[in-house]
Amino acid sequence: MAVTVKEMDGAALEQLVKTGAKVLADFYSKTCGPCKMLGFVLNDVAKEVDGVEIVKICFEENSTAVKAHRVEGYPTMILFEGGAEKARLKGLQQKPLIVSTIAG
């Protein structure tokens, strides 16, 4: 099992969510220590999960997506499935919680 963590912009995220796929979107900032740490955690998570797209959305560069999804701070992870938000994790989290959130 493994997936790849991809960087994408807000428009691409909307397209991906609309397909109904399971998507874990990480809204991050390049100037945030916890976001950097979460990047390594997600790389680790990606090795253990399947059937999910893990994507990173830069908070500062994607204000439309940030507003659309009411992201108030970073890092924030939103799990989408069937085109809708299923779960939200705010702040830096460890691998087990993220894996279990993805598993539902």
Partner: protein, 625 residues
């Protein structure tokens, strides 16, 4: 070139105190100390510079009376010690920067006098700007104010003269056990904004009898139960939320006997005050046990709510607060106001249950609404002591007394502060968090604004009042923010020196580790000097401190001799807090971060290393657990 970062090995204060006391007693027993020529040790326990121990022998057993001469006769501090031949006498109530005269009187009438000079007050100890009361009213009592800012705890007599202070950052509530010992939050910081290891049981001499440590840390308040066990406010260690748990701690062992988690009975996203956020959703700032109803009453600032739980089951009995914004299924817990001049409390502190079942609290009045569109400006706000009468059958509430509204914004504290009940009609109302910016009431927490860019323009204030039948009989003004006020005598009845080593009880818990490693280049170099890295190792923990750039990725590593690696994430993001009840631990440079790691769960020797972004640095320090 330096081979290690700055490293300090610090003994626990209890260990240092025990050694110092032992040395002093050895000196007493080896010498020829008499009432005329006693052994005198100022600040014997390092915590209280206005206390001395006076030690001597008498040939025959006798009682001894010690009198610290006041600046006028009414200022004398007097205490009689029990009969004996080996006299170890804590002397309280010395004046700072003063050649104190102390009179020793033996039971047979023999008198001697000694001089105990003291050093000047440190700058951080706030002095009274005014006091209005009488010696007759205060008697032997002093007013102890605990700190909300860098100011340390301090006690004022009837003239406003300082008669006790601590050089340590003893925090939050200071109260006296029925037996006489003091209970106060420790100065041992564990995490921002103000969490410390637990509670000290101590004397005004500074002698610590016990440290009650709790995993998750201590904040705001504690309450001694009739059997001596302690209720301590805390939180689940490493949890996503804070200030939402209370534990019952065994007075002898420090073991946690019982726990109440308010998340089990309250929604965390409803009924929020203007200061609520997801992490600090309740902000529990007071606890009270009522024997008659076998219930616990807690104050939650960030829900504008005083809640009452069944002691045994933890079930919610009732909520005092503005019910607006709470879900329908919770409305049955709220009271309906009856009578005239009723007002709810907002962001309150210091709830208590009075002997007749009335509920009293300090209504800070911050925002004074549940509706953001109607939040009150500081200039229109007021803080008051308020007493409510509740009928838990009819679920009605009546306001039966208040003091403070009439004083308007000049008495407004958006945070901290307390009330005390002495008897019906006799109350203390302490508004300890007053702040002005260029003379106008601060729109924000004064402790935070003082540390901000406009800090020089912020003036802090604290006004402590006592009333008898609505007549003001005491008013103390201090140019600092002070968490609580507590009136009590320095000596308790029958007090004498209690010798022997104190005990460190309870547990710090295991510090949460971070599973994910960070790939980093091993530099083989010491942490660069610009980080200002330093490590203080204690018996039960160590604290690693350094100054980072915002957004730096930092992980501390403990590399064991057995090949194990323990990883601890260090958050370098700017943290914002909507409450700063005790700003004592705020640093001038917010990039300067302390990481406290408990030694529990660790065993052996560990090299301490630091990853900053993609570089692994050495500290040259090995810690032992």
């Amino acid at each position: 070139m330096e081979k290690t970062i700055s490293y300090t090995r610090q003994e626990h204060i209890i260990t240092r105190q025990a050694r110092a006391e032992e040395a002093l007693l050895s000196q007493l027993d080896a010498g020829d100390y008499t009432p005329q020529h006693p052994l005198v040790q100022l600040n014997p326990y390092f915590f209280a510079p206005l206390c001395a121990l006076v030690l001597f022998h008498t040939v025959t057993p006798c009682e001894v009376t010690v009198r610290v001469l006041g600046k006028e006769p009414a200022g004398d501090m007097v205490h009689r010690f029990p009969r004996g031949t080996r006299h170890v006498l804590p002397v309280y109530g010395l004046y700072p920067g003063w050649d104190n005269q102390v009179e020793i009187t033996l039971e047979n009438g023999e008198k001697s006098r000694l001089s105990i000079p003291t050093g000047p007050l440190p700058d951080e100890v706030p002095q009274a700007t005014s006091i209005d009361t009488t010696a007759a009213y205060m008697g032997d009592n002093v007013m102890v104010l605990t700190a909300a800012m860098a100011a340390t705890p301090v006690a004022f007599d009837y003239r406003g003269d300082i008669r006790w202070y601590s050089t340590e950052k003893l925090n939050f509530d200071l109260k006296r056990r029925p037996g006489g010992h003091l209970l106060v939050g420790t100065e041992r910081f564990v995490g921002m904004p103000y969490y410390t290891t637990g509670v000290y049981e101590m004397a005004f001499s500074g002698k610590i009898f016990k440290e009650y440590r709790v995993p998750g840390g201590y904040h705001h308040d504690h309450f001694p139960m009739e059997d001596g066990n302690l209720l301590i406010l805390t939180q689940q260690p490493e949890a996503a939320t804070v200030e939402d748990c209370c534990v019952l701690v065994d007075r002898d062992t420090g073991a946690i006997l019982k726990r109440w988690d308010y998340k089990k009975v309250l929604p965390q996203d409803k009924g929020g005050s203007g200061s609520q956020d997801e992490r600090d959703w309740f902000h529990n700032n007071a606890v009270w046990y009522d024997k008659k109803t076998n219930s616990l009453t807690f104050s939650g600032r960030h829900q504008d709510a005083i809640i009452n739980l069944d002691y045994d089951t933890g079930d919610l009995n009732w909520i005092i607060g503005d019910p607006q914004g709470w879900p329908e299924e919770m409305q049955r817990y709220f009271f309906t106001p009856v009578g005239e001049d009723f007002e709810w409390q907002y962001e309150q502190h210091a709830c208590m249950v009075l002997p007749d079942g009335d509920i009293m609290c300090l209504d800070n009045g911050h925002y004074r609404s549940k509706d953001p569109a109607h939040y009150a400006k500081a200039a229109d706000s007021y803080t008051r002591g308020v007493r409510y009468r509740i009928d838990t059958e009819k679920m009605t509430i009546r306001q039966v007394w208040q003091y403070g509204k009439e004083r308007g914004a000049a008495f407004f504290s958006c945070y901290i502060s307390n009330v005390e009940y002495y008897k019906d009609g006799h109350y203390l109302v302490h508004s300890g968090g007053i702040g002005t910016l260029d003379g106008a009431p601060c729109e924000g927490v004064p402790a935070q604004m003082k540390q901000g860019p406009d800090g020089d323009r912020v003036q802090l204030g604290s006004i402590t009042c006592e009333l008898v039948d609505d007549q003001l009989v005491y008013e103390l003004r201090v140019p600092a923010n002070c968490y609580r006020a507590e009136k009590l005598p320095l000596y308790y009845a029958g007090e004498q020196a209690e010798l022997g080593a104190g005990k460190v009880l309870g547990s710090l818990g295991i510090t949460g580790e971070f599973d994910t490693p960070i790939p980093a280049e091993e530099t083989g170099e010491l942490v660069p000097a610009h980080y200002g890295a330093r490590l203080v190792e204690e018996d039960d923990r160590f604290t690693f401190s350094a100054t980072y750039e915002k957004g730096e990725l930092v992980q501390l590593l403990l590399c064991g001799e057995d090949g194990s690696t323990h990883r601890y994430f260090i958050n370098t993001a700017k943290q914002s807090f909507k409450a700063m009840c005790v700003g004592t631990f705020q640093k001038a440079d917010p990039r300067d971060v302390d990481k406290v790691i408990s030694k529990e769960g660790l065993s052996g020797r560990y090299q301490v290393k630091l990853i900053c972004d993609d570089k692994l640095y050495e500290t040259g320090v090995t810690v032992t657990a």
